[in-house]
């Protein structure tokens, strides 16, 4: 019962967040669209006048008449674009569009496409590819090093891990990416510092190795900046667990040390390690997205960069919505996993029992 309620709560919460974000996106979107349409209506009227010199001449004689005509024409076009409706009605329409991923068009084609939904759909898998690969390496490395450090707490290795964690958590990930390009791409020329494939892209099997080759620097950057934090968290939780009585009991029983650590301690530490790190992972998505744009990786990060450079507010809104969607999805996944792993999770009424 507790688990079910907990999950329902979390899903409701996610839906609430999504609604808020959608509303925010829609309000901003409606505002921007209004400004855009109003300025384009003025342009249209000017064009229409230039196309009808007789009308223009007739109107230019009588300012009063011109004013009336202009007002009428303006309102007619306002109605045509649906701007005569109240603000909140337009916001609601926009909300419907946002929920159905109908964000409209970009001004300039990106990835050979102007439909925002299609552009984002092309970018998402690339971001997931990069981020997931990096995260798997980080998790593996982090847990391995963290357990090792907890085992020999206080040693030089343990202290080194702590120092690495402190230093890397202070580094902006995207800046480290710039540094990596400077060293490994510009100075040493070992790895490409830009893009996902060579230009023109290779075909067949060579395509995949080429993508892997282009992934080395961005993945390396994400791993370097994040693994210290993982290792440190793992270490702290592991040290806490290793002082529990059941570990002493296991040792007293004569269970081999290896088994004590990986079988007993790590298993007991798993829930907090997983949740803490999944939330750290969610927190690092932002940094990773910006890092992507440094490497010109054609994913969500570069979309953000392009959208902001071109001041394309529609695109920014589309990306924000999709990123939020992905983020909330990952969060619910983390909650499910946590609730499953840790039976102590209880909320609401069952908390008291």
């Amino acid at each position: 019962m507790g688990y079910g309620r907990y999950i329902v709560f979390r899903i409701l919460n996610a839906i609430l967040v999504l609604m808020l974000v959608t509303l925010l996106v829609s309000v901003l979107f409606t505002k921007v669209a209004e400004q855009d349409i109003k300025s384009s209506i003025n342009e249209e009227i000017g064009l229409y006048l230039r196309g009808n010199p007789q009308l223009a001449q007739a109107l230019s004689k009588d300012p009063q008449k011109y004013h009336q005509w202009y007002e009428r024409e303006y309102n007619r076009r306002l109605k045509m674009y649906g701007l005569d409706k109240p603000f909140w009605v337009r916001v609601l329409e926009r909300t419907k569009d946002t929920l159905t991923l109908n964000f409209g068009q970009t001004r300039n084609p990106i990835f050979g496409e102007t439909n925002i939904a299609k552009i984002i759909m092309a970018a998402v898998p690339r971001t997931i590819l990069l981020f997931t690969t990096a995260q798997i390496i980080v998790i593996f490395l982090g847990i391995l090093l963290g357990v090792k450090a907890a085992q020999i707490a206080g040693s030089a290795f343990d202290r080194a891990i702590s120092i690495v964690a402190m230093v890397t958590s202070s580094i902006p990930m995207w800046w480290f990416g710039m540094l990596a390009i400077l060293i490994f791409s510009f100075k040493l020329g070992w790895f490409p510092g830009s893009g996902m494939t060579s230009i023109p892209p290779k075909t067949g099997f060579a395509y995949y190795t080429d993508v892997l080759y282009h992934m080395v620097l961005p993945v390396g950057t994400i791993v370097f900046v994040l693994f210290g934090g993982w290792a440190w968290t793992t270490r702290n939780i592991m040290i806490g667990t290793m002082q529990e009585d059941f570990i002493m009991a296991a040792r007293a029983k004569g269970v081999p040390e290896r088994k004590v650590i990986y079988g007993h301690a790590l298993r007991a530490s798993a829930p907090p390690i997983i949740t803490m790190t999944i939330f750290a992972l969610l927190g690092s998505i932002g940094g990773a997205i910006i890092t992507e744009s440094v490497f010109n990786w054609p994913g969500m990060g570069r979309l953000y960069w392009t959208a902001l450079q071109q001041n394309d507010v529609r695109l920014v809104m589309g990306i924000t919505f999709v990123t939020t969607l992905l983020y909330l999805f990952a969060m619910i996944l983390a909650d499910l996993l946590y609730g499953y792993l840790d039976p102590r999770v209880k909320v609401g009424a069952s908390q008291k029992t």
Partner: protein, 480 residues
């Protein structure tokens, strides 16, 4: 809490804290950063924020710092600005008859570098002409260390003229004509046009007079004497040299080099400390205070109110911060101020602290002394501020220090995306400019490395202090 108690507890804290090496290093860095932020106008100059967003006239663009010379085999000329006191006058308004006056001065540049200056700029010679029909006349010659003489300028000019020698077509032509007598005639004849348009005027002027002077100039070291002669033709004309500047545009500049607008990156680095510290500290203090107030209130109220406040907390915590920040900043693009950024960061920053503060307050609430206070008839606010808050304050200080890095990094990220306060000098903006100008792919390391190191240093300072405080104040963690 009485004053003596406070003093005792501070001394107690300090005697523990000073054993933390990392914490002491953090305090040292913090003092250094605060000093830099406060002394920024004196270290550099007070008008940096005003002129930061304009082009810096007279400075070289994208050149490395001067100390780069220690690491290279080829020595690069530094940036030098000379004034009227660095030249030697030979004639000051000598009357040549029929109203003509004659001025002459010389200056000697000692070229000790393998790569000479990028340009020589002569400016701010004020001529006061009575008749614009007969402007002043300038002749500029250079006597090279090998005794060869090149005439660079021979032209009329009026007030306000800036002579950027390397950028003037006539100088280019003159240098080419002079140098081509030493170059292989076949090379000159075949690529005349390309050589004229692409050659580095200063490199040729400061080169050994030998074959290859045009295509592969080798620097001739020694003293170059520049002779400037100025003539005026009306009796009332005056020439004022007092503001004159001679700029040897460097191949290197200052402590940290320059960016694409000729801005001194050292100045940007020093001034950026202010924004970073102000944002980091104010966001941390505000969000911790709000978080603690929220958490403690929630714990104290209990029941459905607690439940509701916890749901609110969870709700805010699950909003993906950076995308929403980007969205809001993009919506206010160009009008984002420091206060907006602080406000936005605080809005998303208080949740984690509120959660911990709540669980701490829940424990404290059950303590017997709180119960006793309640039995004595103490009110809600008295219990919260007198009995619960003082217990939570140590944790609050540690978490203030620990939430600075996040704020600093987020602000830098926003600036890096071009969404910061456009009127301030920030490290993130310097890196944004570097990124839009492909500094990494061109190897402009002096533009990329220092701002990032500075951001990391501020973050690291507070991480060190925060962890040390946490160890001292939460003894449970000390064994870790």
């Amino acid at each position: 809490m009485r004053w003596v108690d406070l003093k005792a507890s501070i001394l107690d804290f300090w005697s523990e804290f000073r054993r933390q090496k990392g914490g002491l290093l953090g305090i040292f860095l913090l003092v250094l950063l605060i000093f830099t932020a406060l002394a920024a106008p004196y270290i550099t100059s007070p008008d940096i924020p005003q002129k930061w967003h304009s082009y810096w006239e007279g400075n070289p663009t994208t050149v490395p710092p001067t100390w780069y010379n220690y690491f290279t085999s080829q020595k690069l000329a530094p940036h030098e600005v000379w004034g009227v006191n660095d030249v030697k006058f030979e004639a000051k308004g000598q009357n040549l008859g029929s109203g003509m006056k004659y001025y002459a001065f010389t200056f000697t540049y000692d070229n000790r570098y393998d790569i000479p200056p990028k340009d020589i700029i002569l400016r701010n010679i004020n001529v006061n002409l009575t008749n614009l029909e007969s402007p002043a006349h300038i002749v500029l010659k250079v006597v090279r260390p090998d005794g060869k003489k090149v005439q660079l300028l021979d032209m009329d000019f009026t007030s306000g003229e800036v002579f950027q020698l390397a950028k003037m077509g006539s100088v280019r032509q003159a240098v080419f004509m002079w140098a081509s007598q030493f170059e292989d005639p076949k090379v000159v004849a075949s690529n005349r046009e390309t050589i004229i348009s692409t050659m580095d005027v200063m490199k040729v002027l400061f080169a050994k007079a030998q074959r290859g002077i045009l295509v592969n100039p080798q620097a001739l070291k020694g003293k170059y004497k520049f002779e400037v002669q100025i003539f005026t033709f009306n009796p009332g004309d005056k020439v004022d040299f007092s503001n004159m500047q001679i700029i040897f545009t460097g191949r290197t500049y200052g402590l940290m080099g320059t960016d694409y607008m000729g801005r001194d990156l050292w100045a940007g680095l020093v001034w950026g400390t202010r924004v970073s510290l102000v944002i980091g500290v104010s966001v941390a203090v505000l969000s911790v205070l709000i978080g603690i107030a929220f958490g403690v209130t929630s714990a104290y109220l209990g029941g459905w109110k607690d439940e509701f406040m916890q749901r609110v907390n969870e709700f805010v915590a699950s909003i993906p911060t950076l995308p929403i920040l980007i969205l809001l900043a993009a919506a206010f693009k160009g009008h984002v101020t420091l206060i907006t950024i602080v406000f936005l960061l605080v809005m998303f920053g208080w949740t984690g602290i509120a959660k911990v503060a709540r669980s701490m307050a829940l424990q404290i609430k059950e303590e017997t002394y709180v119960e006793a206070a309640r039995a004595l008839g103490a009110g809600t606010s008295r219990i919260i501020f007198k009995h619960i808050m003082p217990q939570i304050m140590p944790y609050a200080f540690a978490s203030m220090a620990l939430s600075v890095p996040g704020a600093v990094l987020t602000e830098a990220s926003l600036s890096f995306l071009g969404l910061g306060d456009p009127t301030k000098v920030t490290w993130g903006q310097i890196l944004y400019d570097a990124q839009t100008n492909s500094a990494t792919l061109n190897g402009y390391w002096w533009w990329v490395i220092p701002p990032g190191v500075a951001i990391s240093l501020v973050a690291l300072t507070f991480v060190l202090i925060g962890i040390a405080m946490d160890r001292v104040l939460n003894p449970r963690l000390r064994r870790l």
